[in-house]
């Protein structure tokens, strides 16, 4: 227990001190990493834990981003009120997908959610009175009690704090009655019903929570980038989120964190390989699947099994045991 607190505390301290040794663009990418961590956790709660496949989550990301932008720019709400509200609004739109989800599963549900994403993507630029059409919207700067949050550092810290809160919340959801009900539904719907789990109710919870998470991520995205346009929320973005979840590890919170950060940083690392980026990116997706079939986190866990750990020197073992827990 003490050891865990030490490792967690150390990691958090390191992240909070990151602005001391990272600057500008790296901090910006790290802030965006937080956005994708939250969205991937949201998708993983729905797909990994509750077994409801979605490849339309860019739609929720868009709704969250536009809700947060409008609440800030038009309604003039402070961001600490606007962001949870944007999440809540997005969460409510999550119920739209409940209608197909009660009847459909697997690839059928996937195509229905794809339709939702396509619909949001198509409606956004047409509803220009609200969204500014194809030109998009520029957001006013954030401020907290008269203090302007306009530097990369302040936006990074905002992203970090929101991400940490959302991770802790997800952990609590997963280890609660709710999380166990999700897993039961994923593993066997009929058996779950026999245990007294109401499918419509818990699927509704799953879609609400997942959309809420993705909405918060969308709002944070709008704050961090400072500008949103419909172009950023196409099918490609939905698939991007899905890849983050699958590569990190299904039904795993640390997996979502690792997967999201991996794919968020990959283009950044590859930027020096001009002309080769797309090839290496594709090859990276393929190699992770071939060499780590259960995702990056699954791989890490497998290589930190207790019997393999005994051979390691003590300090390294402590870290590995922490990872494996």
């Amino acid at each position: 227990m003490v050891r865990q607190v030490l490792i967690w505390g150390g990691l958090l301290l390191l992240l909070f001190l990151a602005p001391l040794f990272l600057h500008g663009y790296s901090l910006y990418i790290l802030s965006l990493g937080g956005v994708y961590v939250i969205a991937t956790i949201g998708l993983n709660l729905l797909t990994g834990y509750a077994g409801q496949v979605s490849i339309g989550h860019a739609g929720f990301l868009a709704i969250g981003a536009y809700a947060a932008a409008l609440l800030l720019a038009r309604a003039g709400l402070p961001f600490w009120l606007g962001l949870p509200l944007a999440g809540l609004i997005t969460g409510l739109t999550g119920f739209i997908l409940l209608i197909p989800a009660l009847r459909l599963s697997t690839i059928y549900l996937a195509v229905a959610t794809l339709g939702f994403g396509a619909a949001v993507y198509e409606i956004l630029p047409r509803w220009s009175a609200l969204t500014g059409g194809h030109q998009g919207m520029r957001l006013p700067g954030l401020s907290l009690f008269g203090l302007k949050l306009d530097t990369d550092m302040s936006l990074y810290l905002l992203s970090l704090i929101v991400t940490v809160i959302m991770i802790l919340m997800a952990r609590n959801i997963v280890y609660s009655k709710l999380g166990r009900a999700f897993i039961a539904i994923r593993d066997h719907e009929t058996a779950a019903q026999a245990l007294g789990i109401s499918l419509p109710r818990y699927k509704a919870y799953a879609f609400f929570i997942s959309a809420f998470y993705t909405g918060i991520a969308g709002g944070l995205y709008a704050y961090v980038v400072g500008y949103i346009s419909p172009g950023g929320f196409d099918l490609g973005k939905s698939i991007y989120l899905f890849s983050m979840m699958a590569l990190g590890g299904m039904a795993s919170i640390p997996g979502s964190v690792v997967g999201a950060l991996f794919l968020a940083f990959l283009p950044f690392w590859l930027s020096s390989f001009r002309g080769l980026q797309q090839f290496i990116y594709g090859a990276a997706l393929v190699s992770v699947v071939v060499f780590m079939p259960y995702g990056i986190w699954g791989f890490v866990r497998r290589w930190t099994m207790p019997d393999k750990l005994k051979r390691l020197p003590r300090p390294l073992r402590a870290v590995m045991e922490f990872v494996h827990r």
């Binding site: 195509v111 229905a112 339709g115 198509e122 699958a246 002309g275 594709g282 699947v289 071939v290």
Partner: protein, 292 residues
Amino acid sequence: MLAQLVVSGLAAGSLYALMALGLVLIYKTTDIVNFGYGDMTMFSTFIAYALLTWYGLPFWTSFLGAIIAGFLLGILVDRGILRPARNAPVVSLLIATLGIGMMLEAIAGWIFGYDVKAFPYALKGPPIILGNVILRRHDLLVFAVAAAIALLLFAMFKFTDIGIAMRATAQNKRAARLMGISTERISALSWALGVGIGAVAGVLIAPIAFLGLTRMIPVMIKAFAAAVLGGFTSMPGAIVGGLLLGVTENLVSGYMPPPLAPLKTTFIFLVLILVLAIRPQGLLGEPPGRRV
């Protein structure tokens, strides 16, 4: 007006049906949803383009070249990448096909360049007028090729040993292996056939939609919708779904009031979801087995 919309819808629908057939074929025997299908189709079509314009071969030879390229590509994907990863969960394999697609896009970009290219029609000449319906010669070719492939597949699954072995593999892999069927070979064959059919569709789509690195992806998305509409486990379903989607799409864009016209995709998916709400397994799909 109505007849014209239906007929051109059927022509577009035949192309969706072809790609949907390829997707269903691969899915049925290997359980893999191929998200790289659009890129594989694009790549084989570029082979036809290269044979046609770089080497000056006649159209039909190039067409054949694209089909062979599709076959080989399918085998390469199955043997080279998916077999080593066969223990991975289905969701991970989906990501692998996505990665393969991105690699193919990159390779095609290096070899063929990044600009969109015009692709010639196989049949030139004035359109054919039947009553009040105008048909391009290309549409006739599309109908003929789609019908031929559907019939060939039907005959193969009905009468040949390989076709029956494929059906057995789709039904129950372990039992098929116990009957002496090499399911590995069947999976390679399904990939070859699936990607090969994609090449056929690609060569027929390219004159209409032009040929570019990502031009086939929207068609793939529609093929997914078509396959789901017909039932993702049914080959006749893929054809019915493709034709129905093509006609619906054309009727929607023909009769929708102009202010709503930009929301075409939304409307089509709404129709799709309504159909699935009534038949969750698609029009001709088998209901999922109930394991209690």
